[in-house]
Symmetry: C2
């Protein structure tokens, strides 16, 4: 997917919502959970049908599929195919957080871009350029590099400053931003760290930011927009549990649609206010 297409969709639909597909069978209706992988796929399809009009992207998290082994990996592939076939204008982000040396990174890129057919992959930057570059050689595909994550222990390493006072997450952005460009790279910046969006925008003024942590993790959508939004929006805000498990009953799809609708409505207002 091209950046221009993504930006166009965001303004056309008035939403920059990404729905995280991290289905947890313990939070699914028991009758569905009992069906194992088949139930997982049915759940995803219903969630996707219910939320597609309110979002521009889906982000399946590989761990929730691999937990079911190869059959689960198949559900991941089938979920991607379902989105691609039925909602071809939605971006598919594989939340994989892969990161390995060049020859291995090439294999992961092949698996996710060519095999599963996703548009973007989240990547861990620890090993440096070798581990990201292979994901930048595909046309209209995106590498989404972890910068500042939404979890508590982001302080362990990401926020530690170097001898010049530059925290690691900022160094990651400074160093990596020219490996690709704002048309094929994004950064993960957690909503729970809204006060850092100014620092991120100082070094990545045009990049899209993939923002987890709104909702269940406590980040404020308005704060994120105030500090992170640019004229072309530049934000994909993810919500997973808050949408897909809004209800644990049989009305899960309706509840997901409603939760997504509420977020999209807020986003329409925020786009009018901050996208300039």
């Amino acid at each position: 997917m091209k950046r221009t297409q993504l930006v166009e969709k965001i303004f056309e639909k008035g939403t920059f919502l990404c729905v995280g597909l991290d289905p947890d069978s313990a939070k699914m209706p028991p009758a569905l959970a009992e069906k194992g992988c088949e139930g997982l796929l049915e759940f995803n399809k219903n969630i996707i049908d219910a939320t597609a009009q309110y979002c521009v992207a889906y982000k399946p998290n590989l761990a929730f599929y691999e937990a079911f082994g190869s059959k689960g990996y198949e559900v991941f592939e089938e979920t991607c195919a379902y989105i691609r076939n039925n909602y071809p204008e939605h971006m598919i982000i594989a939340d994989a957080k892969r990161g390995d040396i060049g020859n291995t990174a090439r294999m992961y890129a092949k698996a996710l871009y060519e095999g599963a057919g996703v548009d973007a992959v989240t990547l861990a930057p620890y090993m440096g350029e070798d581990s990201v570059k292979p994901f930048l050689s595909y046309e209209d595909k995106w590498a989404i590099v972890l910068a500042l994550t939404s979890n508590a222990s982001a302080t362990d390493f990401e926020m530690v400053s170097d001898s010049k006072g530059v925290p690691l997450f900022e160094r990651v952005i400074r160093r990596s931003r020219h490996w690709g460009s704002p048309v094929n790279m994004m950064y993960v910046v957690g909503a729970t760290k809204a006060e850092y969006f100014d620092a991120v925008r100082a070094v990545a003024p045009r990049h899209f930011l993939l923002v987890p942590g709104v909702g269940a993790q406590g980040g404020s959508l308005e704060d994120v927009c105030r500090h992170g939004m640019i004229d072309e929006c530049g934000l994909l805000v993810n919500s997973s549990r808050g949408i897909i498990h809004a209800s644990q009953g049989d009305d899960y799809a309706e509840a997901a649609a409603e939760a997504a609708r509420v977020m999209a409505e807020q986003m329409t207002v925020l786009l009018a206010e901050y996208a300039k």
Copy 2:
């Protein structure tokens, strides 16, 4: 697997070799490569049978299986099962380099420890403690955290010093070493950085180190042992391509056995010299 069992095996067999199972179909005999996933499994089984007496561990690299999608993930599972059933005293290390927030990390731990039945998983530390802790709650299972990797761009972040002059890889070890202990944590330290093993041993004197980069990547086995070996050995040295693709012809298994035998023979000598 318990540390005492691992140490016992190393001295009993006179080897601390880990064989990396990163099968690249472009380097396999064409007749086997043409068989796709079936050929991949056959290749692995023959490599395992040929090398088991010369090594104490196998390290399948997930990327090389995921590149074949869910069918490839199944080959990964079948490879683990083959080792477990036929060579139960060998450690199985899933080279996955996963790293994500707690609820996701728990899913990966479930996938790899419970599903595939491996003994150990490699992990990227970028996101901090949350992303490693779930892998430390299983008895006799190991979290292997990336410290200093063997690739060229390890200099991008891993070797950058903080305001007190401590490089990131050392900070990772200092901070993480008490999340677990030397009986359930190891660190990845690349053989191409042999001069850093003294610094690593200063902060992790008892931990096992998983060492890639000997062979194809140019690291010296003797240098690694001189600077990194301890009385209980404390090293698992990995070789992947140098063993499994020692020959690209039909004699690949015999060639792998011979390459592994040569390394194991050197290791026996080095154990006598440096394990004290």
